[in-house]
Symmetry: C4
Subunit: 312 residues, 4 copies
């Protein structure tokens, strides 16, 4: 590790180390997740049920809940059946499978605490099982309440990034730029962006991490779209780079976004990255169409990715 | 975009861009919301049910809950009816509409898990529907619990702003001022205010964003009212402005307020704006009446807007 | 307002304004609450039910819940009775009061969704009332869940302050000091204290607010007690003050405490104040007794207020 | 207290005071908890039920819930039995113990609001007891919901520290170093570490607290492992220390870790300490094995503690 590298890390260290990865490896995926899996002897330490449930897709979550409901009822129905069908009042089934099905629904009525009571437990044993089951139901439901609240109230950013980043003339110099927009109805305030460029130093074969200064890196709030610009002047580490230079250096621009969601007073974070092949040279973003009816301004986010090439 | 504009943006950029809007357009509404609607191809990305429920008025929320309750019962009653009324014990209705009404209330008893059990499901099919319905009820209720907690615990500022802002002599110079008060019983601490003036530069036809320095922009806490003052000295961008100058420049003062709610240890935010026609020249705020009985100071916030004109 | 006053306010403004209050008025009560009541024309804006419930004493909260339970049951029992006792199955009461009592308990069984079903609604009208009541019960219970969670999870500081503050020799100079301790099992980290002195300027008759520099104003965490010291050197605004000087100036030391509760990762805040009559001159705090058994250090917080007078 | 000591405290004060403890005492346990018990006259102030429930092990929590369930049912069964078994419909027990058991399960059905209703209360007295019990059940369950959510959503760091810290050659100088890794699937961002060395000053017999400057003390995020380094140059307070020097001075390195959990947008904190006997001289950490399949990098955290001695 050279002294020089340390200076950069001190400013822009991202915790990835300086060992080169294979070519084509992204540090960050487009959705901001990290390409790292952690192997660990401690099995339980690795599993965080709550985290999994909170971040699970809604469709999978509903399927999971219904499966658990079904399996739990099956389990208690089996217990009741093992205890003996003669301990229940009003079982109408004429054969064993029918009785099992009745016990299955008795279990569902107990677990959800509906308790119609047409079928009812008569003996101590099945009453005790039912008492445990109804308690189980309540606790499971308490957990479900917490998880559902966690799923709903989890801060979500819904920032959309332009598909490409551009390097093109900007005012009197050249700029590296990309565009973001807030796609939710929640206002984002105290919005901040950091751009870190990581690339191979072709001389030392080390991985550099360089924080790029931005024209504006913090805005009060973000009702419309925001074009973030790194001015490529003589101080910039990518001064006079061609697209091929970026590809050779395996450059990746890591974008870190931070804001406060006004509705929930929560900090929200978002990340993405641009690889060298996502750079477009000599183009600019088309302005987003704004229409105004009375006081209301409408902005069309479907054009966020639209660019036009400079003719030169 | 001129260099000069960028310097201002760097300090005061609010994410509105520099394109002029129609006259009469407010950037911020009086209640702090933004006059922007976002069009987006991604339909689901645009809808945030939880956010809508959390910010919905209580009256509408209760109506929504009752409607959903009614419609869900109607749906399950129809399912039970379709399965056949002969699958239920103790249905007393003598004609079909009466039976449907009984099934509707059986559904309500299942959905809320009351489960009197006078009417009860006899066959596998309707037992299964009832098992699904009671589970649906529990999950819907879990969601309602989360949403109600979200509605209650959502940070709310209840800062009241004076209706007008004043420009008038202040100490030896002139000041731009407005007044705010906390109308809740929660103490607000670490209170901060930022004032950004946005107006058209009549020469360049660009929209300027200028953060105005304040006499005091942060106070420890805010038990009484607080008059915020921007001293209009020679450094101020509105030095010697007349009311007509503000109107010509389509000036808007954007107020951003931030504090910590002491009871919940939550950051709270509030915004408002003053347009040129809400400026009153040469007036001062009447002091809020304070009465003191024993140790208790009472302050009358109904006079927050009261001003008196200077005679000169 | 003089220029000089503004300079102090800029550093230490607490939002109390500069008008003098009656003698004997505290700005802050010992428990940190503010002696201000806000009168307001907007009745609803002034009431914040959730805040009241969250901060209510447990004893009162339980009484309130039981009262609401009783009154709601009374209300629905009256509705059922008005609809007619002939609409219920299995009413056993032989006279009207007995029947009303049975309906009261039927209401309780519906509101809590127990629904034994021995007594059950037979007609459409009372079934509809029962459907509304069970829904009401669920929503009320959802609210109770949120309020209980709010009560439990509300950040609480449990910082105890020494009863008196001392002014006495300290190292080579004199110091103003008081002592605080954490009385909970939760660790407090990133602990900060600010001391603001407010007193009358006897010449200008204005209220001054002066932030006092502290020897140490931030510590990493606070497992034991902490003595906060303002060194009274020549720069201090209370250099050479006697106790009578403090009384004449109606001095009040306002203490603002801030920390992070390690268990909940929450910011916690606490405030108190010392009036002139709570100052003790020429005394020091007795060290808190620490005993050590093995690795475990025990500290006795009952001696937090104990001081000893200097003999000189 | 000497002047010199104060200067250090001002930078690194940890609230432990300067009195020496017995030898072998740790300030911080390995898991970051503090070796302090607070004695306090105020009994209730010392007990924080919610805190205990939140931090209790899951196994103990489940046992506690089941015990409370059992005891509450026993209590209400005794009440019902005291009121008289003749007030219940459908009691089938032929002797008193059997009837008590039936009342026990009737209580369970009431507490969980299952309410089969086969056994039902007939008189005013037992109906009233049942109404209180079902309300008790609902409130207890509301509390359980809040506690379960609190347990799940409590920020947890799961940072693993290397078992030993190393002092060994590092680049051209010598470094004090240890290694940490994130063992969860949640990304940690804005990661910060502070290292405070506490040791006895052998001349003055005072306890020193010295914050050690680190090569890098903040990284953007922490996907892999992170080796924290304090460069031991001439400015370092442990320049040229031998292991015996550390033991004589009863040195303890206190590590404070802070980050933001990306999934929950929560600040998370972690602490640990290294005593003199946990220092290894002249060794370095073995690199953690990284394998890469396609884009996915796998890192093996089981080797976090593995070191290799330098041969010299």
């Amino acid at each position: 590790m050279s002294k020089r590298k340390n200076q950069f890390s001190e400013k822009a260290g991202l915790g990835f180390g300086t060992k080169n990865f294979n070519k084509q490896t992204r540090f960050l995926n487009k959705n901001g997740s990290v390409n790292v899996k952690r192997l660990d002897g401690d099995f339980l330490g690795r599993i965080d049920f709550y985290h999994s449930l909170i971040t699970m897709k809604w469709r999978n979550f509903v399927l999971l809940v219904l499966s658990c409901y079904f399996i739990t009822n099956l389990f208690f129905a089996a217990l009741y059946y093992w205890a003996g069908t003669e301990h229940f009042g009003n079982l109408a089934g004429v054969d064993e499978p029918q009785k099992f099905i009745e016990l299955f629904f008795f279990s569902a009525q107990t677990l959800t605490t509906v308790g119609y009571g047409y079928i009812y437990p008569k003996s101590t044993l099945v009453s005790a099982i039912a008492a445990v089951e109804s308690m189980t139901g309540l606790l499971a439901f308490a957990i479900a309440t917490g998880v559902l609240y966690g799923k709903f109230s989890r801060p979500q950013t819904h920032v959309r990034y332009s598909k490409h980043c551009l390097i093109s003339p900007y005012e009197n110099i050249t700029g590296f730029m990309f565009r973001i927009a807030n796609t939710t109805q929640n206002e984002l305030i105290e919005t901040e962006v950091k751009v870190t460029l990581t690339m191979n130093d072709l001389k030392t074969q080390e991985r550099l991490f360089l924080q790029l200064p931005l024209e504006i890196d913090k805005i009060g709030f973000m009702p419309l779209s925001w074009t973030i610009v790194h001015p490529i002047n003589e101080d910039s580490p990518i001064y006079n780079f061609t697209k091929q230079d970026f590809i050779n250096a395996e450059a990746e621009f890591i974008i870190m976004f931070k804001a406060i969601n006004d509705t929930y007073s929560q900090n929200v974070y978002s990340r993405t990255s641009y690889k060298a092949n996502e750079i477009i040279m000599n183009a600019k973003f088309k302005p987003l169409k704004r229409t105004q009816r009375g006081n209301k301004i409408t902005i069309d986010l479907r054009k966020l990715n639209e660019i036009e090439q400079f003719n030169d």
